[in-house]
Symmetry: C2
Amino acid sequence: MIPVSQQLAIGIDIGGTNTVFGIVDHRGEIKYRGAISTKKHQTIDTFIDELYVAMAPAIEHVGGVEHIKGMGIGAPNGNYYTGTIDYAPNLNWKGIIPLAKIINDKFNLPAALTNDANAAAVGEMMYGAAKGMRDFIMITLGTGVGSGIVINGQLVYGHDGFAGELGHTIVIPGGRKHWSTGVHGCLEAYTSATGVRLTALELMEKNPETDTLLRNYPENQIDSRVVYDCAIQGDEMAKEVYRYTGEILGLALANAVMFSSPAAIILFGGLCKAGDLIMAPTKEHMEKNLLTIFQNKVKLIYSELKEADAAILGASALVWELK
Amino acid sequence: MIPVSQQLAIGIDIGGTNTVFGIVDHRGEIKYRGAISTKKHQTIDTFIDELYVAMAPAIEHVGGVEHIKGMGIGAPNGNYYTGTIDYAPNLNWKGIIPLAKIINDKFNLPAALTNDANAAAVGEMMYGAAKGMRDFIMITLGTGVGSGIVINGQLVYGHDGFAGELGHTIVIPGGRKHWSTGVHGCLEAYTSATGVRLTALELMEKNPETDTLLRNYPENQIDSRVVYDCAIQGDEMAKEVYRYTGEILGLALANAVMFSSPAAIILFGGLCKAGDLIMAPTKEHMEKNLLTIFQNKVKLIYSELKEADAAILGASALVWELK
């Protein structure tokens, strides 16, 4: 029997393009890591077969399966209660995929599954900026906007396992149409990388006379990175893109604070690279929209997990919570 | 020693005008009830003195203080963690009032305090429509809009005890200014009794040519009750007032569902008397604004507590959770 303190956890993060995995110890050190393509697999069966082949040497490397407590998986639309991926829009596998069971059958290890933002929140609580916190909200600002909510020290799954979709809450009724859901004015339509690109295009179109470095790029190359590059060169319109993004994010965070009153909100993902360009207006508008009793109390901070490691760490952290 | 099943709980609800109290058994039966004025007391000391005098015969009536497990109090801005009332705008007592301690010193009974909407949620879980539910949200639609959120079977207090202020979340950025907080576009500005009155006045002013029964009333008499009376007589503008109120409430509920994915949302308070006039558009717009994975899952139901009893029952229910 391996002592608990020496047990290891496997973390798997399934993205639309690639799947990354790692074997992690109690302190959050990744002992071994690897990746396979998600996209090339039209069926879950061939995906699992390749994953098994890719992971077998890793498992041997750490001394065999008896050293491993279980497998945690972060996946789009992953449901913790049922262990299924339900109708994930960005995966080839359609319908309801009983992934935890498939993994369990193939690897003979207990498996827990949730979505990637929830996994990131558990990872942050176990290894990162939320260590010891009982109430916090993790917001991932990447291609999309995800969230993981921790209340009383527990991740909030809701009655059906799908809680925490802050990116799809409506902040501007009748506002910008979401490219995938068709809903108008949701947070993700503004504060994701895609949202930043759309805000830049809108500002350029609305202000054709205004000089901006953004016009040096062809339209299809305008992305959150280009906007950042222009902004740090002092370009006013590019700075305005991030200011506006922060204004909307701050409003949404104020609403989240008045709902669950967390000790901290932790920001994670690509847009965080913009630093104070987005953080300063976000904080300003969060505070401005808060009821007095909530003002100047909530810490707005960055994730302490390295972005390259966070997905694996978050997924692996689910394992330590397995009964 | 009194057996636990025969213990009683005192519930006290402190409102801006009156304070009601009752002695309640485990099944939610109110054995004794009474009330005193809140408003006439300029200081907390004279208030507590009168409360003590008013309750002494009630406590004797049930056999003495040894039959009572504790006292639960619902009060505006009541904080569960600190046992204090903090800067309640509608009470004469300013600043921070250490009410749980004051009650404990005076009555020699353990005391727990929270705000009225949180107390209502605990009451609903203990005695009402949420019996056995682990995830639900209670929305009180009265003079103001309050909420109590239960996740994993626990009331959500947040890191500071103030969670659950859904009425102050912003649903229409830049929208109607709140009469008390000055914030624009919060839920309470639209879906409280005051909000219904303001919507009616706005509609009348914007449509001066439209015939409506509402014009039979002087402006200062237009309230949610008058709008209801006109609506059930078939008045189109009055019906539109409730439809619009439901549209905004439905949007806010959709956002709440995408946050914490409750099994049910329970509506309580004066506006519920409008029945389907408000319930039908609320349900329609909640479903319409939900991401597909959340649709047609959440029960939208009325409280099962009698309105006259709910405040006492809710406050008393806090006692059963005392350690």
